[in-house]
């Protein structure tokens, strides 16, 4: 008897308006849950990218020390000479997507240059030289970092493919003599270190902007 009364009450209460409101509430709640999940994934991906950036940055600092110590006399001088065709360590673009793309394209460019430095130093150093090992490590990690940036970008902007570099493929320097190679290597590494520092800063910024904004965008 009591149950019957309750059912009657339920039918009276569940008007179409109420039902619609309830469905909307559930939809909003579900959306919030998905957004929170995406925000968490964004943060995790960004955090992982940031950690790797810091690691490569730290290793690049050590790499420069190792590079200088392995180049013999006048190593400090090598690093003060300016060299053309080295990628700009600064990140360009206004929008986060543009800046992320800038990071990615710069990383690709630096990877090519670091790879060239490795090749040049292979001729200049003994195979067991720690410089070669560190150069290799930085090169590998840089490649990994580029992959992470790419993934992060695609996770943030799944409908925006990463555009090809504006200036075409990375321009590497022509054949150089040993002095030029040493100068070139030092400048590349030094610039790369600066670039990584900028990337780290950019990622920290993105952490507060992109992941939150992305959530808001999705919310809208």
């Amino acid at each position: 008897m009591n149950g019957h009364v309750k059912n009657m009450y339920f039918h009276q209460f569940m008007t179409p308006t109420t039902l619609l409101s309830l469905l909307l509430l559930m939809a909003v709640d579900s959306t919030r849950t998905v957004a929170a999940s995406r925000h968490q994934q964004c943060a995790i991906a960004l955090q992982q990218t940031l950690k790797l950036t810091k690691l490569v940055q730290t290793e690049s600092v050590n790499l420069i020390k190792t590079y200088k110590s392995s180049q013999g006399e006048m190593s400090e001088l090598f690093c003060k000479v300016s060299v053309n065709d080295i990628p700009d360590p600064n990140i360009s673009g206004l929008e986060p997507s543009e800046r992320i793309v800038s990071v990615y394209t710069h990383l690709q460019a630096f990877n090519s240059h670091v790879k060239r430095v490795y090749e040049q130093q292979t001729d200049l150093q003994l195979p067991t030289s720690p410089l070669l090992m560190e150069l290799s490590t930085v090169s590998v990690r840089s490649r990994d970092l580029a992959v992470l940036i790419n993934s992060f970008y695609q996770s943030l902007f799944p409908n925006l493919p990463i555009p090809e570099p504006a200036g075409g493929p990375t321009t590497l320097p022509p054949p150089q003599n040993v002095f030029q190679q040493k100068v070139y290597g030092c400048v590349v590494l030094k610039t790369y270190k600066g670039f990584l520092s900028n990337v780290a800063k950019e990622l920290r910024t993105l952490k507060t902007k992109v992941c939150r904004r992305g959530t808001q965008t999705n919310m809208l």
């Binding site: 992982q48 790797l52 810091k54 690691l55 290793e59 290799s136 590998v140 490649r143 990994d144 992959v147």
Partner: protein
């Protein structure tokens, strides 16, 4: 079914074509070729006959190795194809042959073309690798590029179908794959550069000829697998003024950019084996220092630190760092000194104390105050304690004062311990007068359990106890511990030795006053005695018993409570034993055999075993004490009794004896021979007063040298009176009458004279014809001639007349008679007094007759003929015959 049949026919067709292409060397073909079979399944093979019509499937058969497969496992597919199904059970690879019988000459001549075989490889399908775990260790300042993985696989493998494992690591972002294959369940994979902060997908595939199976995938950040080095350069700082804290510093083993770490700290007082862990929530951070608090002052602590990835459940804990040690600063003692006493003899008490439990530093001195009756004493006892003493963890016992306390006096002792920082609270001990004994605890029990000695007691009923002191003493070593008033059971916390007897006491303390102790003995663990008791005899052994005595085994050699002694004693063949209680130290063995050597030893027993003591030997007496004396006394008494009896008998029966031994000799004076008057002129009668009437007592000293001397004298007198010949006779009768002036001569030629001489006296004499009379030594002439002549008026006895008859009569009489000649030799020189004495002592005379019986015997056993022969030179017959003739008229 239709599909299977179709597949089979397809296989056959393809095989046939292959065989035809190969030139048809064999007319039989088996399908499938070189199969790999899973153990536990059934395998079906088909044998096909090619290009021979005279051979059908019915003529074929299968051999598995050298064994023909039973027909019931065959299936005839068609006229030229035969199936066989065999179960795959063993791991051993083997051949399966298809053969044909000799159904034609062609088959018989070409056997090689009618056989075909396949090699069966058997194995197990690979099983899924489980429990995959990987670890990447730190090398120098980064993570080593090699990742090491391990996994389990429960499946079996056969030799012919081995399983190969492939470890695969994939960077999920870049799809770069690294892998390595192995047949072990562990592999190390080089990743060139360890991909920190990159996601890795790790899995293992197990592959063999029967299939491939893949493990579960581990998809994690690369740092999930990292095991860092332990923190380096761990240092502990002790700060003055902070006596209960230590500051720990260390260096991160790896840069944060690689792995962000969290830490864990553990510490323990030095010497302790119990680590205390700092709660992880306090240290699970990326920190390089930590302050330990609430430590004990002046205590050396050992500290270790370890680390792991700070992300929850990521990575592995590093090993613990090496020990870092430091001591907390000192503080003043915060607990009382543990005051106690040793009750020595003669009212001597030794006040002792342990350092306070929380001495918080090295104790420098004790300050003691003693209040007794109306007197008060103060003193300070300096303590010089080395670092080694305090580092052992044992609380040192300090002897504070030795004091004399009269039984009727109570004493209060107060003690403070002082270290370099300050003074402890006051410890006190009140010793009551002996008359004021305070109640002891009740029902004290002590027992070993779990390697400890446990003590249990009940509180004394009438009074409230402040605390208890459990004391244990062994071999001059004393220790104690305090228990609070609610304690009824506790374990002794000191270091106890096994097999040592401890005297355990529980003292109740009543407001500082020492109560009467309850006491018992206990062992932590017992063993058989180290040596047995030394047994010895108490006194001398008896004939059937011996009393053994032994000393108790010294306490340090007992090894446990002696449950009993067993006395063993052995006489060689058999060993006996007697079991006696442990409180017995002497025992009297009874039932022993006399004059027997016994070995005895004592076996002492505890609940853990027995040990024999030294061996002791003794010999029981052959006779019991007094037994010999008894026998001697008995025999002596018996002899005495016999002698007395004989003497009494002699006294009472002397007449009988006299008659027997000294028969009544007829008086010669009354003999008719007295009237006999020879032609020889009558001589004056010898005085009769010196002669006993009727009896002549003869005394014979056969061996007396005097006789010889007297004999010489006699011979001299004879020479004087009638020196003549051998036929001379001595005085008649051989009595003292012979010493009379009357010459008594017996001569065969002077028979008348003889008669005349003896006319007034009885003549009873022996005539000795001896060469001694010629001056020769009598002893050299043993031959003696005996002549007898009686002066009695009565006729001579037969025995006198016929000496041969005497020999035949009783020896006694013969002896008596035979001595008469000797008497005759000696008697002539005997004075009358001697004669009287002899007469009054017939017994003695009788004894003298027994003297030198051997000679007598010789004489006795001499045959009459011999005697006669010996007498021949003497010619007795010629001298005697006239006399015989003289008797006849009587």
């Amino acid at each position: 079914m239709v599909f299977a049949r179709g597949l089979q026919l397809l296989v056959l067709a393809s095989l046939t074509s292959v065989v035809v292409r190969c030139g048809a060397h064999s007319h039989l073909v088996i399908a499938p070729q070189s199969p790999v079979l899973e153990i536990g399944t059934n395998f079906t093979a088909t044998c096909m006959i090619i290009n021979r019509d005279e051979v059908t499937a019915d003529d074929c058969y299968w051999n598995l190795s050298k064994t023909t497969v039973p027909k019931d496992q065959y299936t005839r597919v068609n006229r030229s194809a035969l199936n066989v199904t065999i179960p795959i059970t063993s791991e051993t690879s083997e051949w399966l042959f298809c053969l044909c019988k000799d159904v034609s000459h062609y088959v018989a001549l070409n056997k090689g073309k009618f056989i075909h075989g396949i090699w069966l490889e058997k194995g197990y399908r690979p099983t899924k690798p489980v429990n995959l775990s990987c670890e990447a260790v730190q090398e120098e300042k980064s993570i080593f590029k090699t990742i090491t993985c391990e996994w389990d696989s429960s499946g079996s493998q056969s030799e012919s179908v081995p399983t190969t494992y492939t470890l695969i690591v994939k960077k999920t972002s870049t799809d770069e794959i690294y892998n390595i294959s192995t047949q072990l369940k562990r592999a190390e994979l080089d990743l060139d550069t360890y991909p920190n902060h990159m996601n890795l997908d790790v899995w293992v595939t197990a592959r063999n000829k029967l299939g491939t199976v893949e493990s579960d995938h581990l998809i994690h950040d690369a740092n999930y697998f990292v095991k860092p080095n332990p923190p380096s350069d761990v240092q502990i700082l002790s700060e003055n003024g902070f006596s209960t804290s230590l500051l720990i510093n260390w260096i991160h083993p790896i840069n944060k950019v690689y792995v962000e770490l969290k830490y864990q700290i553990r510490f323990a007082p030095r010497g302790s084996h119990q680590w205390t862990y700092v709660p992880l929530m306090d240290t699970a951070k990326y920190i390089q220092s930590f302050r330990l608090q609430n430590l004990q002052p002046d205590t050396k602590y050992v500290i270790q630190v370890r680390c792991k990835n700070s992300v929850y459940d990521y990575g592995y804990w590093s090993d613990w760092s090496t020990n870092a040690t430091n001591r907390t600063p000192e503080d003043r003692p915060t607990s009382k000194p543990d005051l106690w006493r040793i009750d020595e003899d003669n009212q001597q008490w030794q006040i002792i104390s342990k350092d306070p439990v929380f001495s918080n530093g090295k104790i420098k001195s004790f300050e003691i105050r003693i209040e007794s009756h109306r007197s008060k004493e103060w003193g300070s006892i300096p303590v010089n304690r080395s670092d080694a003493d305090s580092s052992t963890g044992n609380r040192e016992i300090t002897f504070l004062k030795k004091m004399q306390i009269a039984d009727d006096r109570s004493v209060k002792v107060y003690v403070n311990a002082t270290n370099s920082v300050g003074k402890s609270p006051e410890g006190l001990l009140f010793i009551p007068a002996k008359a004021q004994v305070l109640a002891p605890v009740e029902d004290l029990k002590v027992w070993p359990e779990g390697g400890q000695l446990w003590v249990e007691w009940n509180a004394p009923k009438p009074m409230s106890v402040q605390e208890y002191v459990v004391e244990w003493v062994s071999g001059g070593w004393l220790d104690w511990q305090r228990e609070n008033k609610s304690t009824r059971r506790t374990a002794i916390k000191g270091i106890l030795e096994k097999f040592v007897c401890y005297n355990v006491s529980v003292y109740p303390i009543y407001s500082g006053w020492l109560g009467k102790p309850a006491r018992t003995e206990a062992y932590l663990e017992q063993q058989a005695p180290l040596r047995g008791p030394n047994v010895k005899l108490k006194g001398d052994p008896g004939r059937n018993e011996a009393e053994l005595v032994w000393e108790e085994i010294p306490l340090h050699s007992r090894g446990g409570f002696i449950t009993n002694y067993t006395i063993h004693y052995s006489s060689g063949a058999e060993t006996h034993n007697r079991k006696v209680p442990a409180n017995i130290t002497s025992y009297r063995l009874t039932g022993l055999s006399g004059g027997t050597k016994y070995d005895t030893w004592i076996e002492a027993s505890t609940i853990r075993g027995s040990t024999n003591g030294s061996n002791h030997s003794f010999t029981t007496l052959k006779y019991a004490p007094g037994e010999i004396e008894g026998i001697v006394v008995g025999v002596s008494l018996g002899c005495l009794f016999v002698i007395v009896t004989i003497m009494l008998f002699c006294l009472y029966k002397k007449d009988v004896l006299k008659e027997n031994f000294w028969p009544q000799i007829p008086n010669p004076g009354e003999s008719t021979i007295g009237n006999w008057s020879p032609d020889y002129p009558l001589r004056a009668e010898p005085p009769k007063e010196n002669c006993l009437s009727g009896i002549s007592v003869l005394d014979v000293h056969m061996c007396d040298a005097k006789c010889v001397f007297e004999e010489d004298k006699t011979s001299l007198s004879l020479k004087k009176d009638k020196y003549l010949s051998e036929e001379h006779s001595s005085g008649i009768g051989g009595s003292s009458c012979m010493s009379s002036p009357r010459q008594s001569v017996s001569d065969s030629d002077e028979g008348g004279d003889m008669a005349d001489t003896t006319s007034s006296t009885v003549q009873y004499s022996s005539v000795v014809a001896s060469s001694g009379y010629k001056g020769q030594t009598p002893s050299s002439q043993p031959q003696q001639s005996i002549f007898s002549r009686s002066e009695s008026t009565q006729p001579l006895l037969d025995s006198e007349e016929n000496p041969d008859m005497m020999v035949q009569e009783g020896s006694r009489q013969f002896q008596h008679f035979a001595r008469q000649p000797r008497f005759a030799e000696c008697a002539g020189n005997e004075d009358t007094a001697d004669f009287d004495r002899l007469r009054m002592e017939p017994q003695e005379a009788n004894e003298s007759l027994d003297f030198c019986p051997l000679e007598e015997d010789n004489e006795q056993i001499a045959p009459p003929d011999r005697l006669s022969a010996e007498w021949l030179p003497v010619k007795p017959a010629s001298s005697y015959m006239p006399q015989l003739g003289g008797y006849r008229p009587q």
